[in-house]
């Protein structure tokens, strides 16, 4: 069964946690003990209705303050799909959390409060989902119950949002509008009686019919070597297998490949998962590959098809999402992790900051602070083998690690 990951984005009080709780409740994914806990706590707090946000806000501080602090993962399944929802908080460190949530998701929900319409935060949520090339975006116009399920208000918000869509970089992104009330359950899982003017699908119906194969980024096959398997036993005396995950496309036995950076050529001899041999390794599968020739390949190297090489460069420009409280400054050095490969990177030039609300760019930038997005050129101590992010979501992205704190301080998308 396919797994679909969905990121959620919304401002404080847009009702994200309530929406997720509603989905869980209406798909009968909330177990009776969890539901009892929600009923008990809602009653204690003197609410008139069930506070579904209690299903997801897990940390003490979150419950105390009634906010979501950290990305939470919520699981449920239907007859056709398994779902993982990344609930990303909308305030402090919002960019960092949203970029993180969107990076592993194929679909996203952007929540808009029907009473407030498109606000600056909405621009940001859309910008980031577009930057990260999330294939399928739902714009859920929430709290429709508080505006009398007005078609006029819904259409106004839709028109406002469409103005944003003209500005987006990734034009092929699928965007769908749905009027909902998370609190009352309208058009979330069940069709609403209050919106006869809305002929579209409910939120869940939309996700159910998504072709998960189609929304995963498809590119050319890239096989970064994670680990070299050398059993050194009697039975497997000469076995030398290259373990890793296939990205982008598929690889088959007999394919002519080249190992990077050595540029040595060989052919795929066998493909294994555990003790089973396969003809073809599909994208996203973790396999072990053996080659016809005994060549020197180690972790961080990459196998690619002979007629389909990535860029092999020691310098490139990328869009950076900065996530640390310490600034990124020209001349700083970081560990750059590209897939499983690590190199040293030096900040060569900060070209400009990009306002993630579509209000333009800012030039003459000396430093980047937390939540900044910018175009930056890096110089590397060794070449990496990459594709532009727009062609390859995995082989076109990297993270930056501070070598003092060891923290992940930024994410990059190669232009």
């Amino acid at each position: 069964m396919e797994v679909l990951k969905i990121a959620t984005a919304g401002s404080v009080d847009d009702g994200k946690s309530t929406l997720i709780g509603r989905i869980l409740y209406d798909t009968k994914s909330l177990t009776s003990d969890k539901l009892d806990a929600i009923k008990k706590t809602s009653k204690q707090k003197g609410y008139d209705y069930l506070d579904f946000s209690l299903a997801t806000d897990g940390l003490v501080a979150e419950r105390e303050q009634g906010i979501t602090i950290d990305v939470a993962h919520i699981y449920f399944s239907t007859q056709t799909k398994s779902y993982i929802i990344a609930d990303t908080p909308g305030h402090v460190e919002y960019t960092r959390n949203m970029v993180t949530g969107a990076s592993t998701s194929q679909a996203a929900i952007i929540l808009i409060d029907a009473r407030k319409g498109v606000i600056e935060q909405t621009n940001r949520h859309f910008f980031i989902n577009n930057l990260l090339r999330v294939k399928d975006v739902i714009v859920a116009i929430n709290k429709m119950d508080l505006v009398d399920f007005s078609e006029e208000i819904y259409n106004k918000i839709k028109a406002d949002f469409k103005k944003l869509m003209d500005k987006r970089d990734y034009q092929e992104q699928n965007i769908t509008f749905i009027p909902v009330s998370a609190l009352k359950g309208d058009n979330v899982v069940h069709k609403s009686k209050h919106t006869p003017w809305y002929k579209g699908q409910t939120l869940l119906e939309h996700f159910e019919q998504l072709d998960t194969e189609d929304i995963y980024n498809i590119g050319t096959p890239r096989f970064p070597i994670q680990y070299v398997i050398r059993p050194k036993t009697e039975e497997f005396h000469d076995f030398r297998g290259y373990a890793g995950k296939v990205y982008g496309g598929q690889l088959s036995v007999g394919d002519e490949v080249v190992a990077l950076p050595s540029q040595t050529k060989s052919k795929i001899k066998e493909i294994f998962v555990y003790d089973q041999a396969y003809q073809t390794a599909s994208r996203r599968s973790s396999v072990t590959i053996t080659l016809e020739d005994d060549i020197n390949v180690s972790r961080g190297d990459m196998l690619v098809k002979i007629d389909d090489l990535p860029a092999i460069e020691r310098q490139f420009t990328a869009t950076i999402s900065w996530m640390d409280s310490q600034n990124l400054v020209t001349g700083n050095k970081y560990v750059l992790q590209h897939g499983v490969n690590k190199v040293l990177a030096k900040v060569d030039t900060i070209h400009h900051k990009i306002h993630p609300d579509y209000s333009g760019i800012e030039e003459n930038i000396q430093a980047l602070g937390m939540n900044d997005i910018a175009s930056v050129t890096f110089k590397l101590n060794k070449p990496i083998f990459y594709d532009p992010f727009k062609n390859h979501r995995t082989n076109g992205s990297f993270i930056l690690i501070d070598s003092q704190s060891n923290n992940t301080v930024g994410a990059g998308f190669i232009q």
């Binding site: 009776s32 897990g58 003490v60 399944s77 960092r96 970029v99 680990y227 059993p231 992790q337 499983v340």
Partner: protein, 320 residues
């Protein structure tokens, strides 16, 4: 319903087979992810260890680790933090598994930590050694200088666990700083740490209870007998079915022992794991039962009922 429980996606049975070969697209995406994570541990750390409790989640981890490195052996040991209050069936199973697979097993005992005066045994009706494990675990990590501990925790188990990273950094005191976690982007895992720190790794973070059971069924993995329906001496307390063992579990005189047909859905200590009434005697019936269940897995964990934040508090102190 998560994993296809149809027959194995491949018809060939050994690496030497020459028959019609298929592609890997039918392999469960969660299995692919877990194998990737386990390989990252072996590649990025010097002294990893797999924390093994004898429960279904850690047994699943062992199978995934086998798959990750085959035909080589699993390149790290297993470690069991033994509270001394385990179900005997679990311990017997553990020893058998280690022997069959030729794995290295390290056992460290909570009893030793008690004898050394490092922790104090709880007393009273709800006394359990569950939270005492933390001290023994942290001491063992220091003793062996482990820099990565692989565990079978899942995000769907509990609300605090839903906030956990796949690579979760712990400081010298084993503490989890839940408000200051590293962002995890795409599937890049940052395992860089300072001396004294270690990383807790959760390869089956994204699996649900049903995913684990379906996988056990599909892979034909052996699990301890207590997961299946059997007759057991039990008593009732707070609406839960407790296993009666007067050496380990405190029981009031008015709590009457009765034989019931039960099974365990989650296996921790006898003193903190409740049984459920069940007729499910084989793996297929267990999977069906989980599918139909309206109670969460940790609903049978007495340790989580202590307070709403019970798990978060234990995790901050270094609990798994």
């Amino acid at each position: 319903m998560k994993i296809s429980t149809k027959s194995n996606p491949v018809e060939v049975s050994s690496s030497r087979a020459k028959g019609p070969l298929l592609d890997t697209s039918k392999i469960n995406p969660l299995e692919n992810e877990a194998i990737y994570i386990i390989r990252e541990v072996a590649a990025q750390f010097e002294k990893p260890v797999l924390l093994f409790s004898g429960g279904k989640d850690s047994i699943t981890l062992v199978r995934l680790a086998q798959k990750a490195f085959y035909p080589a052996k699993i390149p790290f040991p297993l470690m069991h933090i033994d509270t001394g209050h385990n179900f005997p069936e679990t311990i017997a199973f553990r020893d058998q598994l280690v022997k069959e697979l030729g794995l290295e097993l390290i056992v460290r005992n909570v009893q030793d930590s008690i004898n050394q005066g490092k922790v104090k045994e709880e007393s009273g009706r709800y006394a359990s050694r569950n939270s005492l494990q933390t001290t023994t675990l942290l001491d063992a990590i220091e003793e062996f200088k482990f820099d990565a501990c692989i565990g079978g925790a899942r995000r769907d188990e509990e609300k605090a666990r839903a906030k956990e990273r796949i690579f979760s950094v712990r400081d010298d005191f084993g503490q989890w700083d839940e408000k200051n976690q590293r962002p995890e982007l795409f599937d890049m895992l940052n395992g860089q740490i300072q001396l004294g720190q270690n990383v807790r790794v959760f390869p089956i973070s994204n699996w649900t209870e049903l995913d684990v059971w379906s996988y056990i069924e599909r892979e034909n993995i052996e699990i301890p007998s207590i997961y299946f329906a059997h007759t057991r001496a039990t008593f009732l307390r707070d609406g839960l079915i407790w296993s009666s063992d007067d050496d380990v579990v405190f029981r009031d005189e008015d709590e009457v022992v009765e034989n019931r047909v039960v099974r365990f859905r989650t296996v921790g200590d006898m003193s903190c794991t409740a049984a459920v009434l069940s007729e499910a005697a084989d793996i297929a019936s267990v999977v069906q039962e989980i599918r139909d269940s309206t109670i969460s897995e940790r609903g049978a964990r007495i340790d989580d009922k202590r307070s709403e934040a019970a798990m978060e508090k234990r995790k901050q102190q270094g609990y798994f």
